[in-house]
Subunit: 440 residues, 2 copies
């Protein structure tokens, strides 16, 4: 069926789970700033042989955020800590090209990659909320297209810095006093529109060469950047057909950048609600939805759309909402969902509060596996980023029910084949632009 | 003698040790990017009940750096990783106010403080080398006085952000749906010369309230900043008399800021070379010095003084070297040392290569303890930041020989009294500027 193509799976760890009120589930633990719980989730994901855990980020305590992520560990430091309590699983972290400096960020991520012996990934985002600018001494948030222009140059600089060091630079000969092979250390001397960076970086390469690059923008400029630099693409897709179109569209952009299709893995988010029977699963979903506090609807919708909807009743049909210069693709996806299903504002809020626009699948482990297999074999996805509604139970259900079923069907690995994230994902170690010295 | 005043000790972990050629010692291990060795050192320091481990930083791969720190883990991520393999010891990290943004840095350090349950400290530096500017898209490095002006505002913003959250903000009531007590979360709304930051931060407080602030500049503006914000002052002092003068001078500045003397601990660096006999210690030191490669002298001196001395022979006496706008106090200290001892450039380089201007003490464990006791009881120091010449043996000698002697003399603890770094150091939890809500 899939000519050796294997499903890729991530665990998206966030607060008390992805459902806005998942923390109110009787079995839910509070995941806010709770390192023991996060460790437990990461280790469970590793036992299940997932490709990676994935951490999002936010630069504000937005009123529209789920309460369990209003305060959180800064994700790069969290990932560094998780590198010591895991051994094989990939470690993906989100960081903004708009509010970091490329030298600092290149170092931070490379350092996690070294600490974990080659398991790090960087999810490149440009930050969508205007509010963030106010925490960074900026009058205005950069416009969408300029953010993507800056992001492209930022990534170019970061990758250049990651190439500062060729593999195996250490000599450490106590007799001769030679410590480093200086022929393997290179300046970058980048001079561009946004950045001038001399280099070299002061962290050497991990066994995977560069951290894996993830891209999560699904707008036009986002897809173009993904095709250029993304090795994993995280996306929100509601329907099989839309996902197939996105998949073939993005893979179709790759030849322009000389990249083969198997070097980019497209992973939609998947929000699973699992029960022993379909009825039990549906009841669990209804229970989660019953915990939602509708008084947060206006804040949440304003955060999503950057538009104040307080002039409307929550029971009005979703009106036309003008496009902001913040997020692009997600509001479009949500508007399409609202139109297709004829939603009211309250119903739209409840969709957003559930899975933030990601696909919700409610059912038995078999039904979940069927969904995953259909999308995977139909080239709507190369895998999924799993978003448990609450933790740890919502993820335990997936690991104990769905993973064995996927393994039985030959779709998912039963053990890791390698030790780096690039090895898990079947991605090559990037050729170093400077490598002229033969590796000893 | 000391009215309950107790010695404070840090372990300064750097590369393969602090001697430029310490890595060539037969017993030395290579500490570059070697997490297992760093873990071993941190755990040994914790077994010895030291107050903290201390990590420096550098933003370039300078030609004048010891070869074992040309590449290194980024220290904030390293500290986050170390938080999981230690339980009690403080974790201090250096970060630059010139090349970070206050919101990002406040988050990173607060996050390590949360991960470690209140054991983090931030060593505030302004970055002295011009070279760093070239990695950060800056044409010119900020002048010394402007760097300190920016640093003071930067620290004000960071401390303001750390006050965003009062203690115990979580309610997490599944019945009522209340997750956070919003009365305990505050905006900052800082608007200053360098920064505008709205807040709140999106990390809550650790049990110690704020990470401890360390300051390491010993110039005029550096001392002023230390008196204003420093809770630990790391300094280089060569002689007992100079150290006493520095100590009384700095403590004398504290009343101006309404701070009692016991809220600032002055810790000079101490580079110990230890043998069972004085003769053995001296031979060990001579052996270390014999490993120094004089061909690195010009690079090292240029890096220290930001001045090219290639016009002189290494056997010329140290000439007058003009002051740069980079480092201030360390070049002055080294020039004074050169004049006092009538050093040649080669001899000056060899002092710098050994301990970078910090006090070298060569002797038996008893002699080391005598030195420490004299400086401590004579109010030349509140303790020391220990800089082993090579690792792990150079630190093992200190832990196995000197620590028990200090404990026998009643100068140093035999167990931790508390669990946070503030508790180890006898520092109060800072009063939160917003705290009007009684803690539940």
């Amino acid at each position: 069926m899939s000519r050796g193509r294997k499903l890729k799976l991530g665990l998206f760890i966030q607060g008390a789970g992805h459902h806005v009120a998942g923390w109110r589930h009787p079995e839910a633990h509070s995941g806010s700033e709770n390192f023991d719980l996060i460790t437990q989730l990461a280790q469970k994901a590793e036992q299940a042989k997932l490709d990676m855990i994935f951490l999002a980020d936010g630069l504000t305590t937005s009123a529209g955020s789920p309460p369990s992520v209003v305060a959180r560990f800064e994700p790069i430091t969290l990932l560094a800590a998780l590198s010591t309590v895991t051994r094989r699983i990939g470690l993906a972290v989100t960081a903004s090209t708009t509010y970091y400096d490329p030298f600092n960020l290149a170092r931070l991520i490379a350092s996690v990659d070294k600490l974990s012996d080659g398991r790090a990934a960087w999810n490149v985002v440009t930050t969508s909320t205007h509010e963030a600018a106010l925490n960074f001494s900026a009058q205005d948030h950069l416009d969408h297209s300029l953010r993507y222009e800056r992001a492209a140059e930022f990534v170019e600089v970061v990758k250049g810095l990651w190439d500062s060091w060729e593999q195996e630079p250490y000599i450490v000969n106590k007799e001769t006093g030679e410590y480093i092979d200086k022929r393997k250390v290179h300046e970058l001397n980048h001079k561009g529109k946004y950045f001038s960076v001399k280099g070299p970086l002061n962290v050497s390469q991990s066994p995977q060469g560069h951290p894996v690059i993830i891209q999560a923008g699904s707008s036009g400029p986002g897809q173009e950047l993904a095709a250029q630099i993304g090795e994993v693409v995280f996306t929100a897709q509601q329907s099989y057909e839309d996902a197939q179109n996105f998949y073939s569209g993005l893979k179709g952009l790759l030849p322009k950048y000389g990249r083969p299709p198997e070097h980019v893995h497209i992973l939609p988010g998947l929000f699973p609600v699992i029960g022993a029977t379909e009825k039990e699963a549906r009841e669990k979903y209804e229970q989660l939805q019953s915990f939602i506090d509708d008084s947060r609807a206006y804040d949440t919708l304003e955060e999503r759309f950057e538009y104040d909807l307080r002039g409307y009743s929550l029971d009005d049909p979703v009106p036309d909402i003008p496009e902001s210069s913040g997020r692009k693709s997600r509001p479009q996806l949500l508007m399409k969902l609202a139109r297709d299903k004829g939603l009211t504002l309250r119903q739209l809020f409840r969709e957003v509060a559930g899975a933030r626009g990601h696909r919700i699948v409610v059912g038995t482990p078999i039904q979940l596996a069927d969904h995953i297999q259909k999308w995977f074999e139909g080239y709507a996805a190369d895998g999924f980023n799993i978003m448990p509604p609450y933790v740890p139970g919502g993820f335990d259900d997936f690991v104990e029910g769905v993973i064995p079923e996927l393994q039985n069907r030959g779709l998912f690995r039963t053990d890791y084949e390698g030790s780096t994230l690039r090895e898990h994902l079947g991605l090559p170690v990037p050729a170093n632009r400077h490598s002229t010295v033969p590796t000893s």
